[in-house]
C-alpha cells in the first residue's frame, strides 16, 4: 500500500506495462515472422503461376526487382510489380512479360478500391484485355488505346492502365540496358 502513495508509482507502473507489452510483441513477432514471409511468397508464387501456368519455380532479382518464372530451368519470361495510387489507396499490379518482352498479362496483387465498382479491376473481364497489347495501346479506349474502362470506375481503370504503362516503360529500359 505504501508504494502506491509514492509519486513515482504511476511512472513505474506505466513503464512496467510497456515492458510487458514489448515482451508480448517480441514473442508474437518471433512466432509469426516466418509465417508472414511465407504467406507473402506463396501469394506471389500463386499470382505468377496464373500468368505462367507451366511455371515450376521462380527466381527473384532483388536489385532489378524482377521475377523470373522458370520451367525445366528455362526462363518463361519476366514479371515485375507496378504500384500506383487508385481511387482509394495504392494498387499493386503484377505485370508479366513474354521472353520477347511483349505483354503476357497483368494481375492485381492488392487494392482497396470500392467493392463492386473499382474493385472489379481484379476481375478477369477487365484483365483479359491486356495480353499482347503494344505500348501505345495500353491506354483507355476514349484516349485512343485499346482498354475499355469499367463502368462507374474510370479512375480505378485509368490508374491500372497508367501504372502498367509507366512501369513497363521503365522495366523495358532496364532490360535493354542489362542485355
Amino acid at each position: 500500500m505504501e508504494v502506491r502513495k509514492n509519486g513515482f508509482y504511476p511512472v513505474i507502473f506505466l513503464t512496467l506495462i510497456v515492458f510487458i507489452s514489448i515482451a508480448a510483441l517480441t514473442v508474437t513477432n518471433a512466432v509469426t515472422k516466418d509465417k508472414i514471409e511465407l504467406a507473402k511468397k506463396d501469394e506471389i508464387a500463386e499470382m505468377l503461376s496464373t500468368l505462367f501456368p507451366e511455371m515450376e519455380g521462380f527466381t527473384y532479382d532483388e536489385k532489378g526487382d524482377l521475377y523470373t518464372p522458370l520451367a525445366k530451368q528455362q526462363p518463361l519470361g519476366h514479371a515485375f510489380m507496378a504500384e500506383i495510387s487508385g481511387y482509394s489507396g495504392a494498387i499493386s499490379i503484377l505485370v508479366g512479360l513474354e521472353p520477347d518482352t511483349t505483354l503476357r498479362g497483368i494481375r492485381i496483387i492488392s487494392q482497396q478500391e470500392t467493392p463492386g465498382l473499382g474493385a472489379r479491376i481484379a476481375e478477369s473481364f477487365f484483365l483479359q484485355q491486356f495480353p499482347g497489347l503494344a505500348m501505345d495501346d495500353i491506354e483507355l479506349t476514349r484516349k485512343g488505346g485499346k482498354v475499355d474502362a469499367i463502368t462507374g470506375a474510370t479512375i480505378s481503370s485509368s490508374a491500372v492502365v497508367e501504372g502498367v504503362r509507366k512501369a513497363l516503360l521503365e522495366k523495358l529500359d532496364q532490360l535493354r540496358r542489362e542485355t
Binding site: 507502473f13 506505466l14 506495462i17 507489452s21 467493392p115 465498382l117
Partner: protein, 204 residues
C-alpha cells in the same frame, strides 16, 4: 450468475454500442462494404475487447488513476498488434481485405470506452460478460449494415467465396451508391431511426 446474464444481455440491444451508444461508428461505416469484411472485423473486435476487458479488470486495483488512459491504450494496442500479426501470418486474405482497419481497432472508442466505463470498475466475470455482450452487439450491427449494403449495392450475397443468392433484377442494375461511403450513412441512418421508432432508449 444473475449479473453475468444481465451484463451480457445489455450490450445486445438496450446498450448496443452501434445503434444506441453510437460508439465506434468509423470502423462500422468503413468496413461494412461486404459481409466477409464485417464478419472478419467483428471476430477481431470481439477478441480484442474480450482480452482487454479481462486484463484491465484483473489489474484495475493497481492502475494509478492519473495514467489509466495511457495504460489502457498500451494494452489495447499490444492486443491489436498481436491480432494483426496473427492474421497476416495465418489468414493473409482476410488481413488484406481489412487492411488499415485492424490497426485502427486501437482507437475504436467502444474498446477504450468499455475499459474506462466498465472493466476498470467491475470484477473479471462481469467484465467478460460485458465484453461478450458488447462484442455480439457490435457484431450483429456491423453484419446487418453490411448485409443491407452488399445486397442493395451488388444485388447478390457472397460469404467467403460461397455464393449465397442473387436477387433477380437487382443484380443487373444494383444501387451501387450503397457501396460508397454515403450508402453507409443511408443504411445506418435508417436503422437508427428504426431503433428510435421502436422505442429502444439508452440503457445506461
Amino acid at each position: 450468475m444473475h449479473s453475468f446474464t444481465k451484463n451480457f444481455l445489455k450490450g445486445i440491444i438496450r446498450s448496443n454500442p452501434t445503434f444506441i451508444l453510437l460508439l465506434g461508428l468509423c470502423p462500422t461505416l468503413a468496413v461494412s462494404t461486404s459481409l466477409d469484411n464485417a464478419v472478419g472485423m467483428a471476430a477481431a473486435f470481439i477478441f480484442v475487447l474480450l482480452a482487454s476487458n479481462i486484463i484491465i479488470s484483473l489489474i484495475r486495483n493497481y492502475v494509478p488513476v492519473r495514467v489509466r488512459i495511457p495504460v489502457f491504450i498500451v494494452i489495447i494496442a499490444t492486443l491489436v498488434t498481436i491480432v494483426d500479426l496473427i492474421l497476416q501470418g495465418f489468414i493473409p486474405a482476410l488481413s488484406k481485405s481489412l487492411g488499415m482497419y485492424i490497426p485502427l481497432i486501437v482507437v475504436n472508442c467502444i474498446i477504450l470506452g468499455r475499459a474506462e466505463a466498465f472493466a476498470s470498475r467491475n470484477n473479471t466475470t462481469n467484465s467478460i460478460a460485458d465484453a461478450l455482450g458488447m462484442g455480439v452487439g457490435f457484431a450483429w450491427a456491423i453484419v446487418l449494415i453490411s448485409l443491407i449494403r452488399q445486397l442493395l449495392g451488388t444485388g447478390a450475397l457472397d460469404l467467403f467465396g460461397h455464393h449465397l443468392f442473387t436477387v433477380p433484377g437487382l443484380a443487373d442494375n444494383p444501387v451501387t451508391i450503397f457501396l460508397l461511403p454515403m450508402g453507409a450513412f443511408f443504411a445506418i441512418g435508417v436503422l437508427l431511426a428504426l431503433f428510435r421508432w421502436m422505442g429502444v432508449s439508452t440503457g445506461e
